[in-house]
């Protein structure tokens, strides 16, 4: 079970979702968070997912990344259908091919920056590649802080460590859930640049949830979600275009709620 990074995929899509539904709860208080979503993310692209709060963005990301299992429909990563895998195999696949950057609480408090970054490789039973780790830490600008513990870093620095951890294993796809949500404009820009760079240089695929039009403008395309269904997309977006669409979506969402009432 060594790395399968070298395997060349036959299709050009890293992540494929087909008719994915996710329903929370049962009976009268069931909530349909995703209502039949089909989408494919091509290798080497940077996609932003946008939508009003509660539209199902996080749920979408969790299902796509194999952190959550859809109620129905299928998710395929590098041609591997996730539904077939048991918990252990699924975990191993995540470790090998997926990097995840959470909105907060990304790092183990007990470990230093260096140890946190090396952790996925160690979990895989490999010796950490010191040179690669150092290079990635330098790239996120934390080469000199590698001995610190997360408690001693600012929020933006912690987020950058999490990205370094996701990058160092060179996964096929990186998922990020509002990685800039808690950051100031300048730090957010740094973090987004860090996410975009490997897409260009290494053909990595990045899927990022955000509610910030400026953040979305770093992506190659923006996909909009509303009430658990896809609501259009934009290619090579600008911040203004995105903001405009969002206002529109927000209005529609409010309208649909009013109708429902």
């Amino acid at each position: 079970m060594r790395r399968k990074q070298e395997i060349v995929s036959r299709t050009e899509h890293s992540v494929v979702l087909h008719d994915v539904r996710r329903v929370y709860g049962r009976g009268s208080n069931a909530v349909t968070a995703l209502d039949g979503i089909s989408i494919a993310f091509a290798r080497g692209t940077f996609t932003a997912i946008m939508g009003p709060s509660g539209s199902g963005k996080s749920t979408f990301l969790h299902c796509a990344a194999g952190l959550d299992r859809p109620t129905s429909g299928s998710v395929t990563i590098d041609d591997q259908p996730l539904a077939e895998l048991n918990e252990r195999r699924l975990t191993e696949l995540r470790r090998e091919r997926i990097g995840f950057v959470f909105q907060s609480f990304n790092l183990l408090p007990a470990l230093t920056v260096w140890q946190n970054v090396c952790l996925p490789q160690e979990l895989d039973g490999r010796r950490p590649q010191r040179a690669a780790v150092r290079a990635v830490l330098d790239r996120v600008g934390l080469g000199d802080r590698h001995k610190n513990r997360p408690g001693e870093l600012s929020g933006g620095q912690q987020q950058r460590v999490a990205i370094a951890r996701a990058l160092v294993a060179r996964p096929a796809v990186i998922f990020a859930d509002e990685p800039t949500g808690a950051l100031d404009t300048q730090t957010a820009a740094d973090v987004l640049e860090l996410l975009r760079e490997p897409v260009r240089s290494q053909g990595q695929t990045v899927v990022m949830v955000t509610h910030d039009p400026v953040a979305a403008s770093y992506a190659d395309q923006v996909v909009f979600l509303a009430d658990g269904v896809l609501a259009g997309s934009l290619t090579a977006p600008t911040a203004e275009q995105v903001a405009d669409r969002m206002t529109h979506l927000g209005a529609r969402s409010k309208l649909s709620m009013a109708v429902a009432r």
Binding site: S58, H62, L67, D68, E87, R88, T91, E92, R94, R95, E96, F100, F102, Q103, F105, N106, L107, L108, P109, A110, L111, Q115, L119, P120, E122, L123, D124, R149, P150, G151, Q158, R165, D177
Partner: protein, 822 residues
């Protein structure tokens, strides 16, 4: 995963301190119990006076009642028939067989007298003088040949001339064989027989041949010979094994419980961390291995550390048991590698078991949970939990009913003890439910008393009733278990002494460890103002026929008194016959026993007395006795003749109404060396001594349980408080002053302590009320109130300090820097 475990441990030392402490304690206690048990099993009493005889033959110190499964240990020395000596001599390989006589003979530096021929068994060697003729004695150094020495034998002074001085084990004097036979007072019997063999003989082969001679003898070699010199060690040995077993068992279970709860708590507090680990690609198996690795890393050093106090604790407990008469002081404490292995093994197993349970849950955590803010209210209810909770409560109820209806007297403890554990565990499993119930009751008074902060605290604990229950349950366990156990002891001791005192009609007691003679008894009776006087001797026996006597394999307590009329001192209320004819082979039975075995006045029963002698006895009287405290009454001479030392050590005196005979008795006692006059209280005290010992052992046990539960109380509260750092910081940012936060916590602690104490007291009462109703005449437990006050004060103090101290430290930091480490 081991590396991750090491790193986590280094960072989170605090979270594991409780586990560490619990394992250190547990190892030490289990190891100490192992040492006690090993000591009991080995019973290493070094042979000294019989060390020169490679084989010692004694009587069998137990009696199997016909139809019974377990033998009853005989407390008195059984001895061997003199005729056996000749038979032993004729056994192949035996070069000599020497009968040994042993009797109390008190003089300075001397406690026991023996026949001179048995001096060869040590061996003693004459350093001056010659062997004793009649009227002469050989003593240890300190006397010279020709000295006159006065011995107290059977309560009478005996003057002898020292014929020689011998070197050997101290404390013994040797009389001529004829004098010894007469003084020992058991014609035709030896205490034991020492067997000598020619050098080079196969001792084990000779031992087997000797054993084949007679089924009723015990043949010992090596270190076992020591018990022949001290026959009492056998009964104490069984007691020691039983105590070590139950003590060790409870200690092991408590250790598992505490270690499991501390580990579970620390795993529960790190759920987000585990979820994050799962999120970045840690498999469930790896999480499990990491938790297991952590607990091993904590417990192995703790086990090693625990072995150090374990060595001393075992010896300390043994010394304590020895000084309370439970263990024989002549037995050597031995603690080999087995107790060490048992202590270490039990502790490591407890840690692994607890870790596996904690790990099973943590490994199931889904990675998504890392993304959610830790929720206040965890789902606590599950059907399994309800089922077990109800099962335990049902068990508690069943035991309560059994205690109240089926059990009698002192036996009630056998069901009442476990019932409190059942109640406590049942309540703990359904903790949130009970906590909510108590909160509903407490809500209004607290709110009325404490205003705004009180309301906030009430809101807090109500919103977090699961967490609140987790904090209150250890308090409940500690209060419930300690209150129930301690008051069971005091109630039992009180009831037993009540049962004895109610019928005790003596006003004074004459006591002498060297024995009181019949002559002295006559002199006491003739003292003006003495209405009656009687010897008072205790032993244990067995009713063989009829076979259905209501006594277990411990045997029946025997009491020897003199024949007496209505004004007698015997502690009984006669219901039939009289004690005037209580001489020779007669007996007085408690009503319950008589009716159970279908005997009435004039009919006969067969008994085996304390030294194994079977006697046929005619029933001359029946009397009322408290159920569970039944004693069989025999003539004093009969009981005394069948005890190890054959002595009467107490004389009970009843005076004419309105007269104080004590001055006269004191004067009489002054003329007899060794005799002392004591009052009624001393007699009561000596009667409940056994109970006190039992109680003392239980106090020790309960103390340990309390210490243990205290560890879990402190651990739960401290770590829960530390985890709420962020919440406190937020409160301060929203305008609460530090004092206000602390005041809110104080109210919370009050609620936790109140809930724990209230539930604990209820649990204790559920056990104590039926228990008290059974052992005594009222349903109210008796005992000093201060015990309860100490328990609840300690519980309250523990709750407060373990909440407020960590909170104060946390609040010292600026609220603007909530730490990221939780």
């Amino acid at each position: 995963m081991m590396r991750l475990a090491v790193r986590t441990l280094r960072f989170r030392k605090g979270g594991f301190i409780a586990t560490f402490v619990a394992v250190v304690f547990g190892t030490a206690i289990v190891m100490a119990c192992g040492g006690l048990m090993e000591t009991g099993i080995r019973s290493n009493v070094e042979p000294s006076r019989l060390a020169g005889a490679p084989i010692v033959v004694t009587g069998k110190q137990s009696h199997l009642r016909p139809g019974a499964e377990d033998a009853t240990p005989l407390p008195e020395r059984v001895g061997v028939p003199a005729s056996l000596v000749a038979k032993i001599r004729s056994v192949e390989g035996v070069s000599a067989a020497i009968g040994d006589l042993t009797f109390p003979a008190i003089a300075p530096d001397v406690a026991e007298g023996h026949n001179w021929s048995s001096a060869r068994l040590a061996p003693y060697r004459l350093t001056s003088g010659h062997a004793p003729a009649d009227g002469q004695v050989v003593t240890g150094p300190g006397h010279r040949p020709g000295d006159r020495v006065t011995f107290l034998i059977n309560g009478e002074p005996a003057h002898l001339v020292v014929s020689g001085v011998a070197a050997g084990p101290a404390g013994h004097a040797f009389f001529s064989d004829r004098d010894a036979a007469q003084l020992a007072g058991r014609p035709g019997r030896f205490a034991d027989i020492g067997v000598l063999v020619a050098s080079g003989t196969d001792i084990d082969a000779v031992k087997d041949r000797l054993q084949a001679l007679d089924a009723n003898i015990t043949v010992s070699t090596g270190v076992d010979r020591g018990t022949a010199e001290h026959p009492g060690t056998e009964a104490q040995r069984t007691a020691l094994i039983a105590i070590a077993g139950s003590f060790g068992g409870i200690a092991t279970m408590t250790m598992m419980f505490v270690v499991a709860s501390t580990l579970a708590l620390s795993a529960q507090h790190r759920e987000r961390e585990f979820a994050l680990l799962r999120g970045i690609g840690t498999t469930p198996g790896q999480v499990r291995r990491m938790i297991l690795g952590e607990s091993l890393l904590v417990s192995i050093p703790a086990v090693l550390l625990g072995c150090v106090p374990g060595i001393f604790l075992g010896r300390f407990l043994f010394d304590q048991l020895g000084s309370h008469g439970v263990a024989s002081p002549v037995v050597e404490f031995s603690q080999g590698p087995i107790p060490f292995a048992a202590g270490a093994g039990a502790a490591v197993l407890a840690a692994i078991g607890a870790a596996l349970i904690a790990a099973r849950k943590s490994a199931k955590i889904r990675p998504l949970e890392a993304l959610m803010e830790a929720s206040l209210q965890r789902k606590w209810f599950s059907w399994v939990r309800l089922l077990f909770g109800l099962l335990f409560l049902g068990g508690g109820l069943a035991l309560l009913i059994v205690t109240a209806t089926v059990m009698s007297g002192p036996l009630a403890g056998a069901t009442a003890g476990p019932s409190v554990l059942c109640w406590a565990i049942g309540v703990a499993l359904l903790g949130p439910f009970w906590t909510k119930a108590v909160l509903l009751v407490l809500r209004w008074p607290v709110q009325a008393l404490t205003g705004v902060n009180g309301r906030l605290a009430i809101l807090n604990v109500s919103a977090r009733s699961v967490a609140m229950s987790a904090a209150a349950m250890p308090v409940m366990l500690a209060v419930g278990i300690s209150t129930a156990n301690l008051y069971m002891q005091t109630t039992q001791v009180h009831a037993a002494s009540e049962a004895f005192t109610r019928d005790l009609r003596a006003d004074a007691v004459l006591v002498s460890p060297a024995g009181l003679s019949l002559k002295l008894l006559d002199q006491v009776r003739s003292v003006p103002g003495v209405a009656s006087a009687s010897a008072f001797v205790r032993s244990t026996g067995v009713i063989d026929e009829p076979r259905n006597a209501p006594f277990d394999e411990e045997g029946a307590p025997l009491l020897g008194v003199n024949a007496q009329g209505h004004d007698g001192t015997a502690p009984v209320r006669l219901t039939g016959g009289s004690l005037t004819g209580l001489t020779g082979s007669t007996v007085a039975l408690p009503d319950y026993v008589a009716s159970k075995i279908g005997r009435r006045i004039g009919s006969e029963i067969t008994m085996t007395l304390g030294d194994g002698t079977a006697v046929k006895l005619r029933v001359v009287a029946t009397f009322a006795a408290e159920r569970g405290y039944e004693t069989i009454i025999l003539p004093a001479e009969l009981v005394a003749a069948h005890t190890t030392d054959g002595l009467t050590k107490q004389i009970l005196v009843r005076s004419d109404p309105g007269t104080d005979v004590r001055p006269a008795l004191t004067k009489l006692a002054a003329a007899h060396p060794g005799v002392q006059v004591a009052d009624r209280d001393a007699l009561v005290a000596s009667n409940i001594e056994d109970l006190q010992t039992q109680a003392w052992i239980n106090y020790m046990l309960v103390g340990m349980l309390i210490a243990y539960t205290a560890v879990s109380v402190v651990n739960t509260l401290v770590s829960t408080t530390l985890r709420r750092r962020r919440e406190f910081a937020l409160q301060r940012l929203t305008g609460s002053t530090r004092t206000q936060v602390l005041r809110m916590l104080t109210t919370e602690s009050t609620l936790i302590a109140l809930t724990g104490i209230l539930l604990g007291t209820l649990v204790a009462l559920a056990c104590l009320l039926p228990y008290a109703a059974t052992v005594s005449t009222t349903a109210l437990p008796t005992g000093p109130l201060w015990i309860y006050l100490v328990i609840i004060t300690t519980a309250t103090l523990l709750t407060f300090t373990s909440t407020l101290l960590p909170a104060t430290t946390t609040l010292r930091h600026s609220p603007t820097q909530p730490t990221h480490t939780d």
